[in-house]
Symmetry: C2
Subunit: 561 residues, 2 copies
């Protein structure tokens, strides 16, 4: 037998076995579970954790980021904080061939270590990141424009949960077959045929993760860890404006890999210079066999069409839609949707854009409400949440880039505003670019306007002929352009069923009658799927069997027992 | 809740539950198991089964195949039996749009029936096919050129086992999450948040299966049943020379579907007229979302490059390789490889082609054997198996098409024959085209010759500098051109380890020291993987998690509990 073929429990596997087992149970039950507490409270994380993390973050600013990986000697600094805080971190640069060679050289020993050792190391990396979650949260906040609590949760605790979820799926997939099996078949009057079969998990090759600006960790971790735990070395190409969160991630991953005796080049950072197109060069490299991408439809489609040597997983844009038919809690509906539209200034891939409301209005617990009253109710909830700048910015955060500002300008020309966007001075960061959400009235006939994605704090109250018409629009627009989320509000079971049928046909996840503390733009790790892969917004779900099963192969050997 | 959301056990699921459960266990253990007895003996199948099946087969000949599916009124007859038996079966023809529309219309009810109902129906189809396995075996024999026993086993029992294996993997994948889950999250001092989540299995769309000439059932069934059980209607496009086995399959599948109250157009036959290129038209149809193909590298690569709207699973050509280093059973080695080269005239995608032997010979239990003695030993075993025409043809079967004959002619010009191919008169079928295998001597330098696939009864005894050199050739040629099988013979554990390392690097399944009743060209359902997807010979394994997980999506809905 080859070295590494029979697994002796790896010490890091032993250390994290309980967590992994719990995660394995969670993905089969899909009820509530979380491994990493989402509250940044000192009662959970200790009195000094927040300050220590902030200090660690600040220590990076204006300096050379400490990363001991192969490079070409140059460095890049491309970030600009939405909060107007100078970052000026310089990252060591490497060329595509250099990165891929180093990754390729690291592969065999990592492959031969086996699933348990790799899972143990990955969980230790997650643990290390968790120990530094405040540092990570600050990095996410100041590159993405998320307010701190959201950066801590979505960029820290929830991202770690999603990573663990991906590791659990991948581990389950790798271990669904035994490492070895006996095979005995009767053979007439003679001795039975007896064979021993060994099943090796073999990675696809080098994996590339292309990060996005808004959720540098949350959207990258599932692919990063799914590829890594299945044996593929990972090259992490961050968005040029959100390098630090992934640099911090790579730094701690390399630290753990080296401590565990593995080649730290199993995880490398690939920061790119302005206009370098390093992502495309890497994505087309013959040795790159897996690509994970979150970002624009245009580039995602390009990757799918051109990175033919690789398995390509994309999350792109879509038309998140809400069908409003009726409600027994109008205030709750308004509060809930208002929060969704306000959170992170609507800069989530899951934020609702198209609110489909019958032009004759809807029945509610407060009596019949006209179309305008419904639109005003939702807009009013947004206005209330953003009325006080100090409290508002803790929800909205800052605007991630100029593209959003341009769309905010453009949208003033396409319809009548129910609520106008306002510029807000951030009480703590004078350089922050803050805009409150706008809600614009449209008619169902304005297809050209609402059938494109207006990423940012922009949503449309769209007057339709009826709920049936709304559902037809959902089916058509989501079927054609995709969506990551859909929601429906109705007191009529038949409408809820029809909405569910439309969502299934369009392949989009549906939330029904959310009026409390659960929001359509938020998904819970280990329970909700993110993306379905069943519509044009994404070609896969971030965590399920299909997301991990194709990242490795089983190669068997057999010999007479 | 929508109809069909909560599954009440389907009667066909109940009927076959035990078989499915056993299959689900088998795929996790991967030891020996089979659901369909491989012996065509009357003691197993009854005294009249063989004659009844033959009669059923013969009743099709010269007539219109009974298939009540949408068509354009024309029919096609494209088969020519390798045994020279007139077939002249006419199959109803349909255009791509007609087939796809009928399939699309059948989808929703099949999707909404849920995994258990679909699994029950699929197992009932397999059961129905098994009840008619002799009919199927005759159809396979006379279209593929396989001898009867092989047609019964590979084309009948083993094909059914592989189909069941695919159903089991798909069922496991569909049921790894519950249909519904409760989710409860503490929410400060208030009531906890409580949601009910429903997870729907949603198929990709219309599935296309493109069959091959040599193994019309065995190579088509995994894709057909993996797609069908996950909710996708399947259009079965048979090879123009091997339509009948899949026509019989489609006939019984439609029968069972109709009996169970489903639209029989969930499984349709798509026979093509000469030169029609129906496969390509179907493969590029926007509604076709899954393609399974077995056949040439050229067409498989074309599908992968062009059927971009679909998930494409291909099994193509390769260079199956044997590394001969040493043996403690020279007679067994020769017998075993001789049988492999002889079976079905080497017309298996798994038959060894390149036998790599050190030019200085090898150590054996019969003392040192020179290169020529090793080549002669293997060739001698082939000669012995084919010496008597009556017994020989029961192994070789007939030559499937003229391409094989052309290669047999061409190969006489490339090297010195150790064993020449002979034309043999078939004792029962005077029109049969029978050729015994040839073994040709080459040198390791003759790369241009042995680094292409010579599909058919052609193998090369290739003189290498050493076993290390042989392993280098395996690694390089298989890495570049792919292979479905590899084998090694050695008494040295270090060599076996090195061969296993080379096989892992090249991504090919390895058999070690086969000298008895297990052959490198045969894989056992539920235990051996067929294809790895880790080298250019195939982009997937025929039955594993990755083969099924991407054939459906999970779409969820959630509402307050």
């Amino acid at each position: 037998m080859m070295a590494g073929m029979t697994e002796t429990p790896h010490p890091l596997y032993d250390r994290h076995r309980e967590t992994l087992d719990r995660a394995l149970t969670a993905i089969t039950e899909r009820g509530y579970w979380s491994a990493y507490p989402e509250s940044p409270s000192p009662r959970v994380y200790g009195e000094t954790a927040a300050a220590d993390g902030k200090a660690a973050f600040e220590a990076y600013l204006g300096g050379d980021f400490p990363l001991d990986q192969p490079g070409d000697g140059s460095s890049v600094a491309t970030e600009a904080s939405p909060f107007g805080v100078p970052l000026d971190v310089r990252y060591p640069h490497a060329g595509a061939d250099q990165l891929v060679s180093a990754a390729t050289a690291a592969l065999p020993a990592w492959r031969d270590a086996g699933p348990q050792a790799r899972a143990g190391v990955c969980l230790e990396i997650l643990d290390r990141l968790h120990k530094n979650v405040f540092e990570l949260a600050n990095a996410v906040q100041f590159t993405s424009g998320q307010a701190f609590v959201m950066a801590f949760q979505a960029g820290g605790a929830h991202a770690l949960d999603r990573a663990l979820e991906a590791v659990a799926y991948a581990y389950a997939e790798m271990s669904r077959h035994p490492g070895t099996a006996g095979w005995e078949k009767a053979a007439g009057k003679g001795d039975p045929l007896r064979m021993t079969k060994t099943f090796h998990v073999v990675p696809r090759g080098v994996a590339l993760v292309i990060g996005c600006n808004t959720f540098p960790t949350w959207n990258s971790y599932p692919g990063l860890f799914a590829s890594l735990v299945t044996g593929n070395p990972v090259v992490v190409k961050p968005h040029p404006r959100a390098v630090l969160p992934l640099a911090v991630t790579v730094k701690y991953a390399r630290q753990v890999l080296a401590e565990a005796g593995f080649d730290p080049n199993l995880v490398q950072l690939a920061p790119e210079a302005q206009g370098e197109k390093l992502a495309s060069t890497l994505a087309l490299h013959p040795a790159v066999k897996i690509v994970d991408f979150t970002g624009s439809t245009e580039y995602g489609d390009w990757l799918e069409a051109n990175a033919r040597q690789a398995a390509v997983y994309t999350e792109k844009a879509g038309l998140n839609t809400v069908v409003i038919d009726s409600t027994d809690d109008f205030a709750g509906l308004c509060r809930n949707l208002g929060f969704t539209l306000t959170l992170y200034s609507g800069q989530m891939c899951t934020t609702s854009q198209n609110l489909l409301i019958p032009r004759d209005g809807i029945d509610t617990d407060q009596g019949h409400k006209s179309f305008d009253e419904v639109a005003a109710g939702i807009a009013g909830a947004v206005a209330k949440l953003t009325a006080d700048p100090a409290r508002g910015v803790e929800l909205t955060g800052a605007i991630v880039n100029d593209g959003v500002l341009e769309r905010l300008e453009e949208v003033t020309k396409v319809g009548e505003p129910v609520l106008e966007s306002r510029s807000v001075a951030h009480p703590s960061f004078p350089g922050a670019v803050v805009r409150t959400p706008t809600v614009v009235k449209l008619d169902a006939g304005d297809t050209a306007t609402y059938s494109r994605e207006w990423f940012g704090p922009i949503s449309f109250a769209i007057a339709t002929d009826s709920t049936e018409h709304s559902l037809r629009i959902l089916r058509e627009t989501v079927g054609e352009k995709g969506a990551l989320t859909a929601a429906v509000y109705s007191t009529d079971e038949a409408v809820l069923d029809a909405a569910e049928a439309a969502a299934i046909d369009a392949g989009v996840h549906l939330s029904c009658n959310l009026t409390g503390g659960v929001f359509v733009n938020q998904s819970a790790a280990f329970s909700d799927f993110h993306g379905s892969g069943a519509n044009p917004a994404a070609n896969s779900a971030l965590t399920d069997g299909a997301y991990v099963a194709n990242r490795f192969r089983v190669v068997q050997s057999r010999r007479h027992a």
